[in-house]
């Protein structure tokens, strides 16, 4: 048809002629969020209500954007905040600087800080951009706290997923541990089940061949091993 065929093509795109609208009317209808989306952080608690954060400041140290400010303090003997010796006394994240790289989550030794899938927020002043401990710590049901400027309209899919990355591979992101529980329980959720496998299949938790991740780090002559591919 040459030129005229093109007219048919554009005509057929109309809704009355059976075309489909591809636009997603975003705030009204939301697409499902990616499994490992990095949203804003939460500070998790143990199942007994204790905070996981021990105030070690590793997250603050690793943060490339320098957006985390932590001060640790000794737990009060009569009313401890965390199970250990110390706890996070001040914890602030500046979301004007955060790049959601998740390095803090990787650095955290107690899985205290994880990222939720909440990213749809727009504050109107700089003070609101700084989330303090009061906003970051999960509530008594283990859910993040909603700020007035946060859009939670697809709450059901976004809310329970506050630690997806941690549950995908652990520890230290080692793929051999995929599907094996290596994390502690969380308030409101208990010990969470592992995420599905990376290729979408149900992972079969196979025991790693060596007895633990430490053996790999020390590298006691396991030259022929899969993991030791990078050492010289």
């Amino acid at each position: 048809m040459g030129y005229l065929g093109g007219f048919l093509v554009s005509f057929r795109q109309q809704r009355l002629a059976g075309g489909k609208v591809l636009t997603n009317e975003y705030p009204k209808q939301k697409r499902p969020k990616p499994e490992r989306l990095h949203g804003r952080h939460v500070l998790n608690r143990y199942e007994d209500g204790m905070e996981k954060c021990i105030g070690c400041e590793l997250c603050a140290g690793v943060c490339p954007a320098r957006c985390i400010y932590v001060r640790g303090a000794d737990n009060p003997a009569d009313d401890p905040v965390s199970p250990g010796e110390r706890y996070g006394y001040v914890y602030e994240i500046n979301y004007l600087r955060c790049i959601h790289c998740d390095l803090c989550v990787e650095a955290c030794p107690t899985e205290a800080i994880t990222e939720s899938k909440l990213f749809e927020f727009s504050f109107t002043n700089r003070a609101d951009a700084i989330y303090t401990k009061a906003e970051l710590v999960v509530d008594d049901e283990g859910k993040p706290q909603q700020m007035p400027w946060e859009d939670w309209s697809d709450e059901a899919t976004a809310l329970p997923h506050t630690s997806a990355w941690v549950r995908a591979t652990a520890p230290s992101g080692n793929a051999a541990y995929e599907g094996r529980v290596g994390w502690s329980g969380e308030l409101g959720f208990g010990v969470r089940a592992p995420e599905r496998g990376q290729d979408g299949e149900d992972p079969v938790p196979a025991a790693p061949e060596d007895t633990g991740a430490h053996g790999h780090d020390d590298d006691h002559g396991h030259d022929d091993h899969d993991h030791g591919s990078g050492h010289h």
Partner: protein
């Protein structure tokens, strides 16, 4: 001539003319507003998008919102602009769009020898603002004046892109005006009713649309040339965003830009109205029940909307022409074709009047046209060869 002026001009006649003027002005502005919305909505539909949907139901108030925004924006005057002309240009683009519409008959009862006369406040008149004896020539004149709006806007901006856009625009509009005018001549010949738009419409009643009586070719030529004259896609080289930012109106902002914008969307409406008048029988159409003049308005409006749909459809479908392709289409295809068709229509008309044998007339026409076409293609081929040689040597 409009029967309104038959009994001299008194106050009532003046008031009726003023009323008609205001009515046409308001009608055209409202139509433009709706046209902008219609175009945006339709083209987004054809591109699998939603289009404006925030202001009012189906986003119908979007143009209003945009207009209000533009009216409150700062009207910038570039430092190097020619200030007087810079201020004048938008009106030069706007006024012809209005004036052209004045000669379009938008309705009227043409049945049983009524000649499209309606009664307005006790005076007989036509359903069109003006019916000058030169008729359709006003439209051609206005489209020539519209070139000045674009050209002066580009020139007075004192900036490169607008100037390039203006140069492109003037070349394009002048080229296509020839084809436009020639197909109008064909229409005038085919109807044989003179230049008056009212007479042209009256001659097309009883389903004798010029579209058919002149053969379909002049309609096609006029439509293509009109699209080029309107600077609409695929002929929108003068504001090719990828090359010229926004072409002639790059330096315009605020209300002056709004005027160009309105003119740009009003022109398709007036042009569709003209095509309806010239080729589609204007307001002609069946009137099953009720007054005929009302039906004529409905038919006229439907035809215009159908043409506007095609304009938008073309925009959604066709990619922009290259400038040499544009010139080739204008000078090597449309103008020779319209000349040839004019020759055929004229020969047939003279043949009918003189009682000549039609087969002989058509045969002679064919021979002449074949000879002309052969010479034309030979000329263009030689020109192309010479250009190639020049490139090789240069």
């Amino acid at each position: 001539m409009d029967p309104l002026f038959n009994d001299g001009v008194d106050l009532a006649v003046v008031l009726i003319v003023v009323f008609k003027t205001v009515a046409v002005f308001a009608f055209l502005l409202v139509c433009t507003m709706l046209m902008i919305w219609f175009e945006r909505k339709l083209i987004s539909d054809m591109q699998n998008r939603i289009g404006p949907n925030r202001a009012g139901p189906w986003g119908i108030g979007q143009t209003m919102a945009d207009g209000v925004k533009l009216f409150f924006k700062e009207g910038l005057l570039p430092d190097r602009s020619d200030r007087t002309i810079f201020r004048l240009a938008p009106y030069l683009a706007m006024v012809p769009a209005f004036v052209t519409f004045a000669i379009v008959p938008i309705g009227g009862d043409f049945s049983r020898g009524n000649n499209g006369i309606i009664s307005l406040f006790g005076h007989d008149t036509f359903l069109q603002l003006a019916d000058p004896p030169v008729g359709i020539l006003v439209a051609l004149a206005c489209s020539s004046i519209a070139v000045y709006g674009v050209m002066l806007a580009g020139w007075s901006s004192g900036s490169k892109y607008p100037l390039l856009g203006a140069v492109r625009a003037s070349g394009q509009m002048v080229s296509y005006e020839a084809a436009l005018g020639l197909s109008v001549v064909t229409v005038v010949l085919a109807t044989g009713a003179g230049l008056s738009t009212h007479a042209i419409v009256a001659a097309q009643m009883a389903d004798k649309w010029t579209l058919l009586t002149s053969g379909v070719v002049p309609f096609g030529i006029f439509f293509l040339a009109a699209t080029a004259e309107l600077e609409r896609p695929p002929f929108d080289l003068l504001e090719a965003e990828q090359e010229l930012v926004a072409g002639f109106n790059t330096e315009y902002a605020g209300i002056r830009f709004a005027l160009f914008y309105i003119a740009g969307f009003m022109n398709p409406i007036t042009m569709s109205a003209l095509i309806t008048t010239l080729f589609l029988g204007g307001p002609s159409g069946p009137a099953p029940i009720g007054p005929v003049w009302m039906w004529s308005l409905v038919w006229w409006f439907l035809k215009v909307i159908a043409l506007l749909f095609v304009f938008v459809w073309m925009r959604a479908t066709l990619p922009r022409f290259r400038y040499d392709q544009l010139m080739d289409l204008g000078w090597k295809v449309l103008i020779p074709l319209s000349l040839a068709w004019l020759l055929i229509v004229a020969a047939l008309r003279v043949g009918t009047d003189e009682g000549w044998n039609m087969f002989v007339v058509l045969g002679v026409c064919t021979v002449v046209l074949l000879a002309c076409g052969g010479m034309l293609s030979l000329a263009s081929r030689m020109g192309a060869e010479r250009r190639q040689l020049g490139e090789l040597e240069g």
